[in-house]
């Protein structure tokens, strides 16, 4: 095996030094009853050329990745500059461990400190941590953190327009810590959280969580939700999954967020069949010491030079154990690095341009679909790069017919909302050309017929 350098001669010399006759003797502390006597039922070993052949064949089975797609719904395809992946392949970054020894980890520490800065700036919040697993667990940890701050309250309020997987994850994590979770329903016309529903926010409310743009693609009126939340002295926790949108949408800090979380995958990270992306976690100044996860801080070394260290570790599991703010240890460091390089590469203008390119395509596609096909836009609320399309036939049937034309048209929402079986969630990005948008429209026209 190419990864095992110990030769038979080495082994002999080492066993002599240890004072045993065989490697097997070193396993004597394992009871004989449970020692494996047969080979595991695993495939035969493969050499590198065999591995390449095997995976090339397997990759072909992912035929969808070669098709024109309009999928989003929590994972977003964007252009990622070539240098990001090249830099991730610097093995000084990707084969290092968590920076426990700061003198030999300044590369990781500084780059994540910069990531924390840029994420805090993007969210317009005081501070960001060094990352969480993903947006859903970041949201769940935010809810848990809120329960520890508002100890005397027992109700969590979530806008039902949040990604269903996020709501489910929050439910799992808070099961033993909140009495009830109350959902705010949407206005079926606008696709935004109904203002009437805000009355459910009351003095027992720990926190109010909402996603924008929401699961249906609609941008929520964060100001209205924020006002009611503040009035009831609950914590405001906005969730942003499509984080490129923050270049042009009101940032969580502008809305008065106490904690704000999100998903960093759209920031230059491939969709990777759902992971790894990177969970983003930010907080206001007074809540910094309640945050979960690693934090990197600036300090001086003993010679007075600027440097960086893991800090505020007294919050964490390795010190506080059962009383820790969270159980998180490993995070998504390398993906945080990727998001940091992306934000540095795009800069304020590049990110804004990406955002506007997304809006332009969404608006153009919506307009063409309404004008030229027998489909409608499901909600009147403003959107970013994703919208809900009402199809005259079942959305899943429509999607199948589009597949036959080589297009993965979007996500039939009935996967999560069985009642909305004629709604398709369609997502565009700067990667789509005008021609591809036109292909979508002409294929749709062939399936559903022209405009009414």
């Amino acid at each position: 095996m190419r990864y095992l350098p110990i030769t038979p001669e080495d082994r002999k010399a080492m066993l002599d030094k240890i004072g045993v006759a065989s490697v097997e003797e070193l396993f004597n502390s394992i009871p004989a009853d449970v020692k494996l006597t047969k080979k595991l039922n695993l495939p035969d070993a493969m050499s590198e050329p065999e591995l390449r052949r095997y995976f090339a064949a397997l990759a072909k089975e992912n035929s969808g990745s070669e098709m024109l797609t309009f999928l989003g719904a929590g994972a977003y395809r964007h252009t990622s500059p070539a240098h990001i992946d090249q830099l991730l392949l610097r093995s000084e970054f990707y084969t290092a461990y968590t920076p426990y020894q700061p003198e030999v980890s300044q590369g990781t520490l500084q780059s994540i400190f910069e990531f924390q800065t840029m994420v805090a700036d993007l969210f317009d919040m005081h501070a960001s941590n060094a990352s969480m697993y993903d947006g859903a667990t970041a949201a769940a940890e935010a809810a848990l953190m809120a329960t520890k701050i508002k100890k005397k309250r027992d109700k969590l309020v979530i806008a039902s327009s949040m990604h269903p997987q996020y709501i489910e994850t929050i439910r799992t994590y808070t099961a033993h810590f909140v009495k009830e979770i109350v959902l705010l329903e949407i206005d079926p016309k606008t696709g935004m959280t109904s203002t009437d529903e805000l009355a459910k926010i009351d003095e027992q409310t720990i926190a109010v969580m909402f996603q924008y743009p929401n699961f249906f693609g609609v941008i929520e009126d964060g100001k209205a939700i924020s006002e009611k939340t503040k009035e009831m002295k609950a914590l405001l926790i906005p969730v942003v999954i499509e984080t490129t949108a923050l270049a042009i949408l009101q940032a969580p800090g502008e809305l008065g967020a106490d904690i704000a979380v999100g998903e960093g995958q759209p920031l230059g990270i491939p969709v990777n069949f759902g992971g790894p992306g990177v969970g983003l976690f930010t907080a206001s100044e007074k809540l910094v010491r309640k945050m979960p996860g690693r934090l990197i801080g600036e300090t001086k070394d003993k010679n007075g030079n600027d440097c960086f260290v893991l800090t505020l570790a007294a919050r964490e599991q390795h010190i506080k154990r059962e009383k820790a703010t969270s159980n998180i240890c490993s995070n998504q460091g390398l993906m945080a690095l990727a998001a940091g390089i992306y934000l540095a590469s795009m800069g304020p203008k590049g990110l804004e341009k990406v955002a506007l390119m997304n809006v332009r395509r969404a608006e153009k596609l919506k307009k063409m679909l309404v004008e030229q096909t027998n489909c409608e836009i499901a909600f009147s609320g403003p959107t970013y790069n994703e919208f809900s399309l009402m199809t005259p036939i079942k959305a899943s049937e429509f999607a199948k017919k589009m597949e036959e034309k080589g297009i993965v048209a979007g996500l039939p929402i009935d996967k999560y909302y069985p009642a909305l079986d004629n709604t398709l969630l369609v997502t565009v990005s700067e990667l789509h050309t005008d021609e591809e948008l036109e292909n979508f429209v002409s294929a749709t026209k062939e399936i559903t017929g022209g405009a009414k």
Binding site: D85, Q101, I112, T311, L312, G350
Partner: protein, 495 residues
């Protein structure tokens, strides 16, 4: 034997913001007219906060991060014996395959008939990990070891809740355990009962018996434990716990010692998480991403988190869900690209070679122990498998574990894990892994002996280490008293 040592040729590099110069860009996007596009967003929903990201060219970005990378020590530099972290070599073929675009660009909501390759990877990994650990089923959802612990204890809780057995409110955890164990346990509303290790650093059957009753939901143990010692009473332990009606959670952090040699499932462990970023060689990325799949025995399968991959009669793969599940614990299905790397790794070793990983890892650790046991105090006399814990007992001139760690840096090695496990005062936990050569370990052994000698004759050299790195020991008190967690990027610096 000459140890590598370090010399320093490093560029000085400030923060990326210091390279910023208005008008520069590191992106390439098509030219198009975007005038008036913003009108689609209502004015009261638009961003007004400044976005003070840097403006730099592509060359600036590449130089900045390339220079920063040179400030790191990594497994590709040299020996990285962080105990309990299993810093083994990260094969390059894994990186190549994880980057095949029809895996990396595959959308998680892609219809399953268009993503059969990815589903097969997941299905095979569920089964192969179950086979390796001796379990009936495995979930790939958890993103890291601690996330796996969270899932494992959640499965136990759901199992008892469904049985209506609500009086079980406690989980027993040995004092040698990782901090994540108690932290994960309380997230499910359980109280932690601390189990003191005996004089051999192991679980005492008598102490355990005293703590076991019908209010205990389970025990969380690590085997081999964090001292590298195999709990040889494991069959008695699991039997005793089961007789009390409780379940046994295994922390798989140290699975590298057992690969192909023994299976936790055969020892009576009911639930265990694997760390793919330890045992199965996926890179740790300076902190993550990891992956922490969880294997369970038959009766716990219904409670695993959703979703999982199932095979249909026509040999195609689909996602499935259990309505008795503990729920979802993240978005989508897991850290797929990490799982894919581990899959490549297992296939490369195959059934013929997998056990050589454990054999070489255990051989290497015992070699270091034998070579250093007369120089450094070995915390416990018990036989050890894949790692060994020394401490700073009897060091001259007030030299401590921290000083030894820093002095190793000057000699070209990453320090071992220090001050863990907590039951060893001044612990130095060394885990060489199977991918290190005898020459590398001999050099490390020489460095450790040299440090011991210098501590006596030239302690200043050790007490002030590291002397050859770009920065010296940081002031951690200053960092924690007045935390500076972001760089002030705006003129006003409202934050």
């Amino acid at each position: 034997m000459k140890y590598p040592g370090i010399t320093d040729l490093k560029m000085a590099e400030g923060l990326i913001f210091e390279r910023s110069h208005a008008g520069r860009q590191a992106y390439s996007l098509p030219e198009e007219n975007l005038e008036g596009v913003l009108d689609a967003i209502p004015a009261n929903m638009r961003r007004t906060a400044v976005l003070p990201l840097p403006e730099v060219s592509e060359g600036d970005v590449v130089r900045h991060y390339t220079i920063l990378s040179t400030y790191n020590f990594s497994i590709d530099h040299g020996f990285y014996p962080l105990g309990s972290c299993t810093m083994k070599y990260n094969p390059k073929i894994n990186e190549e395959i994880a980057r095949i675009s029809s895996f990396s660009q595959l959308h998680p909501e892609m219809p399953t008939h268009l993503s059969q390759g990815a589903l097969k990877v997941m299905y095979d990994m569920q089964n192969m990990l179950s086979e390796i650990g001796g379990f009936a089923a495995t979930t790939l959802n958890p993103a890291a070891g601690a996330h796996g612990e969270y899932v494992g204890i959640g499965v136990i809780r759901k199992y008892f809740d469904e049985k209506g057995d609500t009086k079980r409110t406690k989980v027993i955890i040995p004092d040698s355990a990782h901090g994540t164990n108690p932290a994960s346990t309380t997230l499910h509303g359980y109280d932690v009962i601390l189990l003191e290790s005996d004089e051999h650093g192991k679980i005492s059957l008598d102490t355990l018996r005293e703590k076991l009753d019908d209010t205990v939901a389970g025990i969380m143990l690590t085997n081999p434990n964090t001292l590298g010692v195999f709990e040889s009473d494991i069959l008695e332990i699991t039997k005793m716990v089961h007789e009390a009606g409780a379940l046994v959670y295994g922390d798989g952090a140290n699975m590298n010692a057992l690969l192909g040699k023994a299976r936790p499932g055969d020892m009576g462990i009911d639930v265990m998480h694997y760390n793919l970023h330890k045992t199965f060689s996926t890179p740790h990325g300076g902190g993550g991403p990891g992956s922490g799949p969880v294997g369970v025995v038959e009766k716990l399968i219904p409670y695993l988190p959703n979703p999982f991959v199932a095979k249909k009669d026509d040999d195609t793969f689909v996602f499935a869900a259990s309505d008795r599940s503990m729920g979802m614990v993240r978005s989508f299905y897991g850290n797929f690209a990490v799982i894919l790397r581990a899959y490549v790794y297992i296939l490369e070793y195959g059934n013929q070679h997998l056990k050589e990983i454990a054999e070489n890892a255990v051989l290497n650790a015992n070699y270091i122990k034998a070579a250093l046991k007369d120089t450094y105090h070995v915390a416990y006399e018990s036989d050890t498998l894949h790692e060994v814990v020394f401490n700073d007992q009897d060091m001259p001139n007030h030299v401590t574990t921290l000083d030894i760690a820093k002095a190793l840096i000057d000699r070209g090695f990453h320090p071992p894990t220090i001050y863990f496990p907590l039951i060893v005062h001044g612990a130095l936990m060394v885990e060489p892994t199977e991918t290190e050569s005898k020459e590398t370990m001999d050099a490390f052994i020489d460095a450790m002996k040299d440090i011991r000698k210098q501590a006596e004759v030239n302690p200043e050299n050790i007490l002030n280490a590291p002397l050859k790195t770009r920065v010296a020991r940081p002031d951690e008190t200053l960092a924690a008293r007045k935390p500076v967690l972001t760089h002030c990027t705006t003129d006003f610096c409202e934050r």
